[in-house]
Structure formats: C-alpha cells, structure tokens
C-alpha cells in the first residue's frame, strides 16, 4: 500500500510528529512564528483524548508541560526566541528534576522582540546556556519539513529515554516552508516510553541510581507517593546540601547526555571523502550550502558538507577528525558566529574556520558560500 503523503508546513509537520510519538498533552502561548503548532495541537489532541491548554504566559506553559509529564503524559510546548528566554527558568527545573518534555522553538531574529517574522539561527546558544547552572542539553536542528517531523519524534524518544527536556529548533524558514512529506506507518518508527518503576511504592525513590544514570520515573496518581523539587536533591527526591551528594547528582545529570553522545548526535556527511573545503551548516542554511557544494564541484573545487542535525551535544569527535584532513571550514549561519565559535574550539587550530554571518532577516544564499569557497581555496 502506498504511504500517506501530504504537502505540509514545517510547524504542521512538527505537530504531526508529536502525535506520532504519542504526545498527549500540549501547553503553549501564542507566539510568531510557531503558533501553527499550537493550532494543530488544539484541533488534533482532543480527537485522540489528549489535552491542549493555552496558558497565561510562556512560563506557565513550560510549568504545565512539566506538571503534565509528571502526571504521566508525553508533553510538548512550542515557542520562539522571546518565549524561549522566558521558559529558561523552568527548563532548568525540568533538567534538575529530570522530567521528560519537548520544547519546539522556532528561531526568529533577536534579541528581544527582534524580527518576529524573519529567520534566524541565533537561539542555539540559548538552548545550551540559557538556563543557569550546569545541566544536560539536547538540541535538534532539522533542515526540512520531513526532517522536522522525524526529529520531533526523535526528541520525544530522547526525552523519554534520558528523562530530560529536549529542544527541537528549526529556523523560521524550515518552520514555515511547505514541502512534500511522507508519513511512516504506525509502528514503523520506534517510539520510546519512559521506564517506570517496578518496585513496590514503599521502596520507590525517584532518583534511584541503582538502576543506572536514568532512574525510573513514576507518574503522580499511579500509586507512588514521592517528592519532586528544584533544589539539589538526594535519591529519594528530598533536598540536600551534602557536598558529595550534590556533586554526584550534578555530574550524573550531565552524564546522561555527555555519556551518550554517540546515541544522540546525528549528522549528515555529503561529499566529504575527498573534500578540502568543508561547509559546516544546519537548518535552512545547510540547503544553501548543499547547493553551493554542488556548484563548487562543477567548478573543480573539492567541497563537501557536514550537516548538523543534532546541535547539542555537538559532534566534536567527528569534526576534530575531519579537521585533520581538510584545508578549511566554512561556517555559514544566521547569527554572528555561534556555531563558528564552537567549531573553532573543537578543531583546535587544525584548519582555519571562516564564518559567514547574516542577521538581517535574509537567508544565506548559495552564492555567498560559493564566493567564500573561492576566496579560501
């Protein structure tokens, strides 16, 4: 039987991906350019018995998805730059309390209100460093409508698997463009559910590391009584200031991601085998980069593309290896050098890194990238 296909916008695909992943709770607040996700969820969730709520503000929406997740739901919120700034307080809460949830953030111009309808890629640092304190960060950066659908499913899976919030961050171009999408059949893409406790309620501890770095999470109302706090906590969930426990717990929380980089990092290598000039790009910019690489090849320049699909954790190992055999990196991005700085740090001076930065609300076009290739080759 032919697969179901549709012509969808990135934001609509994100909502469909969430539904495929079993999302049954959405809380949000209207914000351009991500509102379509909320609109689709408000229509689709109740059809399958799920819950949609429009909260009084961005912080409230983040709070509600954490509360919903703790009561056993698979939860999503959608937002954009200013909303992401507001949500940071409780993204940190979800990190320390280890509550799975997915934050879909469409990158628009910033800072502040910035350019609400213009594309940008300037929230990628906010995804890692936006909330205070040390914490794990997972951020996925799809480049097409199909990939947005798939990465939202993967975000839910990673969130449930590692018991931590996961961000999906398309830029505004990806979020609003329309493309053909092919839907997987039910069961075709694996859907991961959180591990729930099997111990008796009296024995349950919400942060019991005897089960490994990702302790099972019970749902409120499922027979287990336990405590959850945003304070540094012990294995039983109660606050502590004991140095050794705080140190161990903080390290474990970060290790959930840093210790599983190979499972989380996803990237695409395009024409890299003999490449001398490698473009490192993500989101819609990677589409311009692919076009530029193809043009460069026609003109005899040995160009290739390393496309980030996971932004955090960053594919450090892969880029370091690549840096030992290429002449130069080009890093086009719709910000003033966020990924460029990370790449520079990772490649340890093995190859020069040339950034191309745009923050004027216009996409980086292939010609700009091609010109830079000619300049540095």
């Amino acid at each position: 039987m032919a697969k179901k296909v549709a012509f969808l916008q990135g934001n609509e695909a994100a909502a469909q991906g969430a539904l495929y992943a079993g999302c049954n709770f959405f809380a949000g607040y209207p914000i351009t350019p991500s509102t379509e996700v909320a609109e689709v969820m408000s229509a689709e969730l109740p059809k399958v018995g799920g819950k949609f709520i429009q909260m009084e503000d961005e912080i409230g929406a983040m709070a509600a998805i954490i509360g919903g997740a703790l009561a056993g739901s698979k939860t999503l919120t959608s937002t954009s730059g200013p909303g992401l700034s507001l949500k940071q307080e409780l993204i940190g809460y979800a990190c320390i309390a280890e509550i799975p949830c997915v934050i879909y953030n469409v990158m628009r111009g910033g800072p502040s209100t910035g350019m609400p309808t213009g594309p940008s890629q300037s929230d990628v640092m906010c995804a890692k460093w936006g909330t205070h304190g040390d914490h794990p960060a997972i951020c996925l950066v799809p480049a097409s409508v199909q990939e947005t659908y798939e990465e939202v499913i993967r975000a839910f899976n990673l969130s449930e698997k590692y018991r931590t919030p996961v961000m999906v961050m398309p830029d505004e171009i990806v979020a609003h463009m329309r493309e053909r999408i092919v839907f997987p059949e039910p069961g075709e893409v694996a859907v991961i559910e959180r591990t729930v406790p099997t111990v008796q309620p009296e024995q349950y501890k919400p942060y019991d590391t005897s089960f490994g770095d990702v302790p099972p999470l019970a749902a409120f109302g499922s027979g287990y009584k336990f405590h959850v706090t945003g304070l540094n906590k012990m294995q039983d969930g109660f606050p502590t200031t004991k140095a050794a426990i705080v140190q161990a717990e903080e390290e474990r929380q970060v290790r959930k991601v840093d210790g599983n980089v190979d499972d989380i990092v996803k990237y695409e290598e395009y024409l890299l085998d003999d490449a001398e000039i490698v473009v490192v790009a993500f989101g819609s910019t990677s589409r311009s980069a692919r076009f530029a690489v193809n043009e460069a090849r026609k003109q005899g320049i040995k160009a290739g593309l390393f496309r980030l699909i996971t932004f955090w954790p960053f594919p450090e190992k892969q880029l370091l290896a690549l840096s030992k055999k290429v002449k130069a990196f080009i890093t086009p991005e719709m910000n003033l050098g966020m990924a460029t700085g990370v790449v520079k740090g990772v490649v340890e001076g093995n190859a020069p890194v040339h950034g191309i930065f745009r923050v004027d609300g216009e996409p980086i076009n292939p010609g700009q990238i091609l010109d830079k290739m000619k300049e540095v080759k």
Binding site: F25, A27, A43, P46, K47, G49, K51, I53, M55, E56, D57, I59, G60, A61, A63, A64, I65, I66, G67, G68, A69, L70, A71, G72, S73, T75, E89, L90, Y93, P201, A219, F220, G221, G223, Y224, K225, F226, H227, V228, T229, G230, L231, F238, P239
Partner: protein, 272 residues
Amino acid sequence: MAFDYEKYIRPGKLPHIWCPGCGHGIVMKGLIRAIDTVGLKKENTAIVSGIGCASRLPGYMDCCTLHTAHGRAAAFATGVKMAKPEMDVILVGGDGDGTAIGGNHFIHACRRNIDMTYIILNNKIYGMTGGQFSPATPTGAKASTTPYGNPDAAFDIAKLAIGAGATFVARGTAFHANQIDKLIAEAIQHKGFSVVEILDDCPTTYGRRNKFKSVIEMMNHLKEIAVPVKAAEKMSPEQLQGKVLTGVLYKEERPEYTDEYAKVIERAKGAK
C-alpha cells in the same frame, strides 16, 4: 482519642524548618485534619507549592508532592490536573510567592475555575529571604527593604481571588486553629478553584520590625482583627475599621475547567 497526624506525615521528615512561633505548622495540622475529614487518598493527592517558607510544607506530607519554582505552583498544578483530572490537587504557598511573582498564574487559575484548592499562608512578608515587603505588607509597615515604611498599597488577597473568578474563597487565621480544617475541607469539597487565605504570623522577620513584642502579641493581633462574616453583617463601617472578615467569603457554582475540557474532547471526537 487524639488525632493521628503522623498518618499523613512523611516518616523521618520532621522537624520542619519553620521558626518557633511561626503559624505555618498550625496551618499544616489544619490541612491534615481537612484531608482526613474529606477522606482523600494520599497516593491520589498532589500537593504543589512554589518557593518560600510556606512552600516547604508539601515535603512533610506523605502524598505526591511537587515543590516547584518561585510563583509557579498554580501553573505546574494546572498541568497535573489537566493530565489527571481524577487526582485531588492542593496548592500551598505564601503571599509573595502567590501574588507577586506568581500573580499571573494565580489569577488565571481562578479564571479557569480548575478544580484545585489553594491555601495561601499570608504572613505579609518574604520570610525565607529575611523579611522584604510583599504585595500583602500593609502600607507604612517596616520590612528589610522598607526601612522608612512601606510606600506600597497591599493586596486584599481574598478580594483578588473573588475578582479573578475563584468560585470558593475563604479566610481564616493561624489563631483560629479549629476553623482552619473546616475551611480547607469545604474548599476541597467545592468543585472548582478554591482559595483559602490564612492570615499568619512571622515573628522573626515581620513581628520584630513592627513593634510586636512577642509571638503571643502577634497571635492576639490576629484574634483581634478577625471578624466572622456573620458578625460583620451587624457591624457598622466604623466598627469594621481595621478588621478583616473571616469564614467563607464567597461561593458560587460555575462550570469547572477539566469538565469543560472533557466536553471539548467529546466535540472533537464527534467532529471528525
């Protein structure tokens, strides 16, 4: 036979953090009696709080307890209740947590009339941080950040709740300990968003700056200013100067939020 509070207290979690003379423990005992009266199941009861002295209360309770971020209890709790409407949800917090940083979540929970009970322990001060003035601090009062007297006007929290759409609003005091459980029990049994404001004392950070010589004096003050709603009906505006009304201040029946959302689900499933 003496009431068995320990049935509802988490083993090993006492003593509590509250200062000698603080009324929060009196309110917690009232809440426990109310839970017992209504017959709530501990494993089906979520107690949610924000940040502050009062917000440490859930940790002592042997239920599903969620100590959230400053001011955010009502929004977290809304998520819990939406996801599991069959759970009983109780919020606990202070005046600063609930009406300053959490003011927006508070009024919107009132407006939605989502079935939860919010107990606000109003001691008129940010106690945990050392006594800064809150939205409930009276004009002219001294706090660590109002050394020349508070220039701000205070919220009437119960009126705020009524104005925002809460369908059950009551007020008690830490002095009137035997009334607390009755007000909370009625609030829990009310279908909709219920607010119980308990006027409380903070001898450590409020009393000592505002000429209260002892905890007893603070408690007596609560006794003196409290006027039951019924008694107030017979009093003149002059007689009511400086008094606060106690008891059930407001009650109405209005569609509850999770019930209304259940109808949304029915309509969506029928729409196709």
